[in-house]
């Protein structure tokens, strides 16, 4: 069996000032999967969203299903059509970077034959928050070359200073 080291950092963005979106563009197509690790803070309770390739060409491009638990119960919900994928449903607002983390797996992002599916887990240890798991579908066979992270339905709310997202690439043998 072949073997080779992988899981390579592609880029990291750490905010020096509050801004509404974080974008990774010109993503190399040389990996099999992408993993985004975020430690972010934001002051409004809303969801962490993703948009691929800047694609807003249709309001039915994205759908998602989520599962969430907060220590007292579990809930699930779904959106069948939308203009964004979802990385975290609850938003878990916190003013301190590091209290909330999410890991987002974007599978087979560079192929041109399948729609793109991403799975993510978000966690906040702050009292009253919790953990959630989300699966999102981007209904496009185009390879993903850019990813934009934003807050809320319109992706217009701000990430706080110090928020960090790192994008990794994983290559299969």
């Amino acid at each position: 069996m072949a073997a080779g080291a992988t899981y390579e950092p592609i880029a990291t963005t750490t905010l020096g000032s509050a801004q509404s979106t974080i974008t990774f563009s010109s993503i190399p197509g040389t990996y099999t999967d992408l993993v985004a690790v975020s430690t972010i803070a934001f002051n409004n309770s809303d969801s962490l969203a993703l948009r691929f390739n800047g694609d807003t060409s249709s309001s039915t491009l994205y759908s998602w299903t989520m599962l969430s638990g907060n220590g007292s119960g579990a809930v699930t919900t779904r959106a069948s059509n939308g203009a964004r994928a979802l990385a975290d449903y609850n938003g878990f607002p916190t003013s301190t970077v590091g209290e909330y983390v999410s890991i987002i797996q974007i599978m087979n992002y560079s192929n041109s034959t399948t729609f793109k599916t991403a799975i993510s887990r978000g966690n906040s240890a702050v009292s009253g928050h919790g953990t959630d798991a989300v699966v999102s579908l981007y209904r496009s066979t185009s390879p993903i070359t850019s990813i934009t992270f934003g807050m809320g339905t319109a992706m217009t709310q701000n990430f706080a200073v110090g928020s960090t997202i790192t994008l990794y690439g994983i290559a299969a043998a």
Binding site: M1, A5, T65, T76, M107, T117, I119
Partner: protein
């Protein structure tokens, strides 16, 4: 102390620097990081850099400030480190040796093998799995020909086809209902994929960690995370745990779709090994 080696620089006689005061040695992946405090006597003028040297091996690394990371060390070997200052005249005497530190395995995530289907196939097998990693991770994008929007997949290890040797639990959200269940005394179901009635471009995905897979004293535990979103019913975000009740090291495994179905074209399974 310094031997008193001198040189003349711009008309001034410059001694070699005194050694720094050695600090704590901290083991890392195939490395030891050594902290030290610069000599404050001013002897030899400004110190340009420092050299850290291992014992055994005399492996060196340089740096301008504390700490210095000495790399390329052997995992499991106990090392002490000494540090010397360097100026225009040369290298000063080395400090006393640090306390010992033993490097650990360098953390690494490595691709082992990949199966990418160009047509239908009833199972996917990974065999002759190297025993040199700590954990395995399977990353799967898949779809089957089951006449439904979704299908299951399960994993059997080392050709063990005794259903009672496997257990599993799951927590699933499908948009309207939350499901939790127990796969007792049955092949551990690792997750769900899309089936034939989902749009042909829609595939389910999963990331499955097989922990401490070479250990011969423990049963083997897995954690499973994945999902499929097909814009309607039978969309799932799933989490699971699995148990193979065997102390044998995992050397092979087979991924099975639901009963009677086959994996279809573009199904992609990649196996990785994690060191450290």
């Amino acid at each position: 102390m310094a031997s008193g080696r001198l040189s003349k620089v711009k008309g001034k006689v410059v001694d070699i620097p005194n050694p720094p005061t050695i600090g704590t040695a901290t083991a890392g992946g195939e490395s030891v990081s050594i902290a030290f405090t610069a000599d404050s006597s001013g002897k030899g003028g400004p110190t340009r850099s420092y050299i850290a040297k291992s014992n055994p091996g005399n492996i060196t690394a340089t740096g301008s400030t504390s700490p210095i990371n000495v790399t390329g060390l052997t995992v499991g070997t106990s090392y002490t480190i000494s540090v010397a200052g360097v100026n225009e005249t040369g290298t000063g005497e080395y400090s006393s040796a640090s306390g010992s530190a033993t490097p650990i395995e360098l953390t690494s995530f490595e691709s082992i093998a990949t199966v990418a289907l160009s047509g239908s196939q009833s199972t996917i097998t990974f065999s002759s799995i190297p025993q040199t990693y700590k954990h395995l991770q399977l990353r799967l994008l898949g779809r089957t020909d089951r006449a439904s929007a979704d299908d299951y997949f399960s994993v059997r290890f080392n050709s063990d086809n005794t259903a009672a040797n496997y257990r599993g639990h799951y927590l699933i959200g499908e948009g309207a209902n939350v499901y939790s269940g127990d796969h007792g005394n049955d092949y551990a179901i690792y997750g769900r994929l899309t089936g034939a009635s989902a749009s042909s471009n829609m595939f389910g995905v999963g990331v499955i960690d097989m922990l401490d897979y070479t250990n011969t004293n423990k049963y083997k535990t897995g954690r499973n995370f994945g999902g499929q979103d097909i814009n309607g019913s039978a969309a799932y975000a799933w989490n699971g745990s699995s148990l193979w009740m065997s102390t044998s090291a995992i050397t092979s495994f087979v991924i099975y779709p639901g009963a009677g179905s086959n994996f279809v074209q573009y199904t992609h399974a990649a196996l990785y090994g994690i060191k450290g």
